[in-house]
Amino acid sequence: MFTYILKRILYVIPIGLAVSLVCFSLVFLAPGDPLSAILPPDATTELIERLKADYGFDKPLPVQFGKWVLRAAQGDLGTSIATGRPVNSEIAKAISNTFMLAMFACGIGFSFGLVFGFVAGYVRNTWLDKVVTGIAVTGVSLPHYWLGMVMVIIFAVLLDWLPAMGAGAGGSDAWAWDWEHVRFLVLPAVTLSFIPMGIVTRTTRAVVAEILNQEFVQALRAKGMDSLGVFKHVVKNAAPTLLAVMGIQLGYLLGGSILVETVFSWPGTGFLLNTAIFQRDLPLLQGTILFLAMFFVVLNVLVDILQSIFDPRIRR
């Protein structure tokens, strides 16, 4: 048990290093000089050299990478080229908003997904199952940025019930848990919840149907167990798989909400990435992506460990 957990935790180190290498290489995919965004067109070679030295671009690549990783490990992701502020403080401001959005979306998506999935798994091959499966396919096929636009059109433009964009007066700094602010969260959270809803419904339906087909369920029923008792067994057996899917979905939403955040101008990490890309702010881009990817890696390990606690067969 502990060796397995220790192994999974140690596994973060090589993966983390490789992930940083990918993020670091992003700069070299970019066309042109990373400094061209801040240099005036008539910059002297002296100034160019000095800035290169300041940002560390004059050193050989392996040295640059080593230094970057060491500083990143200490929580220093460099300075944003566009704003001159430290990248980690920019991320810190944005991540709480993204986290809030993702948690709400997952809350909505997982609840509906689990209910739909269990119902469909129990009544497999009936009209109700077909309806639920249809909803699930729709959920995974919707371009969510378009769904966001349609939501805005219906609930903000035509009905005027909810705000179309932003995070309330004062932006993310003045956030409070009252309706004046929470109503800004409703549309983006509902929009984002459709993807996990679809995926969780599909997985739950498949897993539940498979478990109900197994012999031990028949044995339990033959023994005279009531349906609630059988249901408990089904839940227990479905839990590890569902947990894994939901963990990964949470990670996807944290890293993949950029499109929905752009539609609703939600001040999260996705919006930050968008700014970084269009201002060609490479340190900010690198830092944000590294942060989100590392978060995803750690989340995956946590899910693995939790799964192994629920289902000892996984520790092989």
Partner: protein, 300 residues
């Protein structure tokens, strides 16, 4: 017990043996798909989309790039503009028809690329095993550490906007999952008896890969790849929506959604139209892939 046997024996002697035309695997699959109405319908919709893309110049009523400052944001059903006009007065119907060209292109090509590269990598890793497997599969693991949307945006964000760049980034996004599926199927097939038998009877590695491995691996990997088409359509148009894919004035559904965002207060339903196209394509790919999977799963 003996009576049926005897009559069976008599039948064998009196009638010529019935000619059983055994259909091949793919013919069986095809017959099963044809019986599934939903799958057939989705396939027909996709074929229509494809035809629309190919014959766009003949179908579209107007020039998709002709602007008109006087007829901006006409409503759906306006005279001469069946689906209204966009923010520059261009005919929406024509733009949606022309949009199929780029949207389908950037939605399908990355999956095809990834299918070719991923299958190659996966079969190599699975067949050769050992160190080659470790190197390929551990590299693939690194890309799994990124949520797919994030990886696509990171790469195209760094490369900059453009059709070629978004195809490159989406190809990179879809190689890892396809490689993983190809590797696991190859590893399973490699251990089966008929591969052993082929090797014992002197077949060389290339023949074994071509006949026995690919013959069994391509099917499942192909099915998996079709399920990625829907994701790819959404992501590719999403990149354009962010401004990272195609550039204006090209007609592409994601890009059209992006430029029409400013019009949602004046002409909301016209602004939402391109999304209907993306959604229709993506849901048809999804349902078709489900249907194919069911048809190929002969056990069920």
């Amino acid at each position: 017990m003996s009576a049926p046997l005897a009559s069976a024996a008599a039948a064998v002697f009196t009638e010529p043996p019935p000619v059983v035309v055994s259909r091949g695997y793919w013919a069986t699959v095809f017959a099963r798909v044809l019986r599934d109405k939903v799958t057939v319908f989705c396939a027909l919709v996709l074929i229509c989309m494809l035809l629309m893309a190919i014959f766009a110049p003949w179908i579209a009523p107007k020039d998709p790039t002709a602007t008109s400052m006087l007829k901006r944001l006409a409503l759906i059903g306006s005279e001469g503009y069946l689906l209204g006009t966009d923010e520059l007065g261009r005919d929406m119907l024509s733009r949606l028809i022309y949009g199929a060209r780029l949207s389908l292109f950037i939605g399908i090509v990355p999956v095809i690329n990834a299918f070719l590269i991923g299958t190659l990598l996966g079969v190599l890793a699975g067949f050769l095993g050992g160190r080659v497997n470790t190197v390929i599969m551990r590299t693939i693991d690194v890309f799994f550490a990124f949520p797919s949307v994030l990886l696509a945006i990171a790469i195209s964000g760094a490369l900059g906007a453009g059709i070629f760049n978004s195809i490159v980034s989406l190809t990179i996004v879809f190689i890892p999952p396809i490689t993983r599926v190809a590797e696991s199927v190859t590893t399973q097939v490699r251990g089966l008896d008929f591969v052993e038998a082929a090797r014992a009877s002197g077949a060389n590695a290339l023949t074994i890969i071509r006949v026995h491995i690919l013959g069994n691996v391509l099917g499942p990997v192909f099915i998996y790849a079709t399920s990625l088409m829907s994701v790819c359509m959404i992501l590719a148009s999403g990149l354009s929506f962010l401004g990272l894919g195609t550039k204006p004035p090209a007609a592409e559904w994601g890009l059209m959604l992006n430029t029409l965002r400013t019009a949602i207060y004046t002409n909301p339903w016209v602004a939402a139209l391109p999304g209907v196209m993306i959604f229709t394509t993506s849901i048809c790919f999804n349902m078709m892939s489900d249907g194919l999977r069911q048809a190929m799963d002969i056990k069920e």
